[in-house]
């Protein structure tokens, strides 16, 4: 297993947000975490990213293993530097005062002088999202929401990480753009990128992922392949509109 989450308990200040999460992801998978607002989906991703409080919750019990080794003491930028995992955060967090190209360049900060890799990945990003190529020199805050989301994904790719976590990639996107985004992500998966995607839109997420976990108030209440979850009565009732 590439990533193992063992009995993970986290809190924001004194408020416990996750009450003992267990799940795992293997290389090459597309896994989704679904759940209602406030279920702990974002808290899970932020815990994995190892960002420091107050940006992320504090892990006080349990462990996160990457290739069998705990990453609890690893600094967030080290995770990226060692090409373990990249996070496309909720709200995109692109650098609006930088151009599209500069955003992509900056994401290669920790990539050690490998010009070929940088060039290839840049080509991949621009092929995947031709709109970004058109807006290469533009200040990125002038992009539309969908384009900003593309840029955020492109940035994650530029880090060289083969495991990408996405927090609500469909949020605020028009349906056409949303499908375009998921099509691009599927293509990336075929190229060997492992994906963990968090979604409120359970239907879209289950169509996209091969398997998933259902999160409810900080606990996993169901798991299985996408088909199993789609046919699960409780999941249908709570997340798929009956």
């Amino acid at each position: 297993m590439m990533l193992q989450i063992k009995d993970l308990k986290v809190r924001y200040g004194n408020i416990e947000a996750l009450h003992g999460l267990n799940f795992e992801i293997d290389r090459g998978e597309i896994v989704t975490l679904i759940g209602a607002n406030g279920a702990g989906k974002t808290s899970t991703l932020l815990s994995l990213s190892r960002l420091a409080p107050p940006d992320a919750p504090t892990v006080f019990e349990g462990d996160i293993l990457f290739d069998g080794e705990s990453i609890l003491k690893t600094e967030p930028h080290k995770l990226v530097e060692q090409k373990m995992m990249a996070l496309v955060p909720e709200g995109r967090h692109i650098f609006g005062n930088l151009s599209v190209q500069e955003n992509l360049d900056l994401a290669t900060y920790a990539v050690k002088e490998d010009h070929q890799f940088v060039q290839e990945t840049e080509d991949l990003v621009y092929n995947l999202f031709p709109r970004l190529k058109e807006r290469q020199k533009q200040r990125s805050e002038s992009l539309s929401g969908g384009e900003q989301q593309m840029l955020a994904v492109g940035r994650a790719l530029m880090t060289g990480c083969k495991f990408i976590m996405l927090d609500e990639p469909s949020m605020g996107l028009a349906p056409v753009l949303m499908y375009e985004m998921f099509r691009a992500l599927r293509e990336l998966n075929k190229n060997g990128i492992t994906i963990l995607v968090v979604e409120q839109n359970a239907k879209v997420a289950l169509d996209f992922a091969t398997r998933g976990y259902v999160l409810d108030t900080g606990e996993i209440i169901a798991s299985g392949s996408s088909d199993e979850l789609r046919n699960n009565k409780d999941v249908q009732k709570a997340y798929l509109g009956g």
Binding site: S49, L51, P53, P54, D55, E75, P76, H77, V80, E81, A86, L87, P89, G91, H93, I94, F95, G96, N97, L98, E102, D105, L106, A107, Y109, A110, V111, E141, Q148, R155, A156, T159
Partner: protein
Amino acid sequence: MFTTVLQNLFNALQWGSFYSMIALGYCLVYGVLRLINFAHGDIFMMACYFAFFIATFFLSIFLGLPGPVIFVITLFLTIMVTAGLGVFIERVAYRPLRKKGAHRLYVVITALMLGFILENGNLAVLGASSRRFPDMIDKVIISFGGVNLTNLKIIVILSSIVVFFILNLIVNKTKIGMAMRAISYDKFAIPLMGIPVNKVITFTFALGSGLAAVAGILFGMSYPVLDPYMGMIIGWKAFIAAVVGGIGDIKGAFLGGFILGFIEIIVVAFFPSSYKDLIAFVILLLILTIKPTGFFGVAKSTKI
């Protein structure tokens, strides 16, 4: 009349250069941490003292060495030592607060206290007597059309321009500079790009303090009397200059310094010199009232 104007123009450029080089330090730290580093004026003061000791030391042990060589050595060493001081201050004072998630107010108070500590530490160690900065470069007066310029004045003005261009290059063309700009927009996402936030902050303090060092050594050479409180007024003025220019932008801070230089010199040309600060600050106040973000400041729009 014309020569007086020209003469004053150069005086304004010289003072503007000092303000600008110091203002850039405020601007850099503010951009990265959203912190007004009120100790910055005193870092400038410390730079003057560092330069004083380094220059005196080299002048006394290498008697044969030409002045300009000693100047270059002093400049280089002063930049290194002052950058080290800036980084040290960040480590021992600001980083622990940041780690604990302290409110910005406490960090600003810490900056103010640090300024006092540097001033009074200097006073305690070196005593109250002011010191005379040694001469490293022989003063040459260049006259043209009735305007008298010292070579030092030209060096000061050119230095500020060179420093600004180098800084511009760093901020716009290097990855660490790009990270400095990015951090001012969105600190959260910086580690997600594989960038160590603390390294960017350390670099910023080193850079800002290095600029203060250039200003410090040149100021010491131009106005050779040093005292522990010399950084206070000039530091405050440079800070105000940075805000008037637009503190979020290095162009703004740089020009802000020159705006202040010009206003001061113009006021002195027409009014008794005791009115200088009064009128200059009234004008700056008016500028800020009309454009609160400063000349180059842009109100940052947040996008969701």
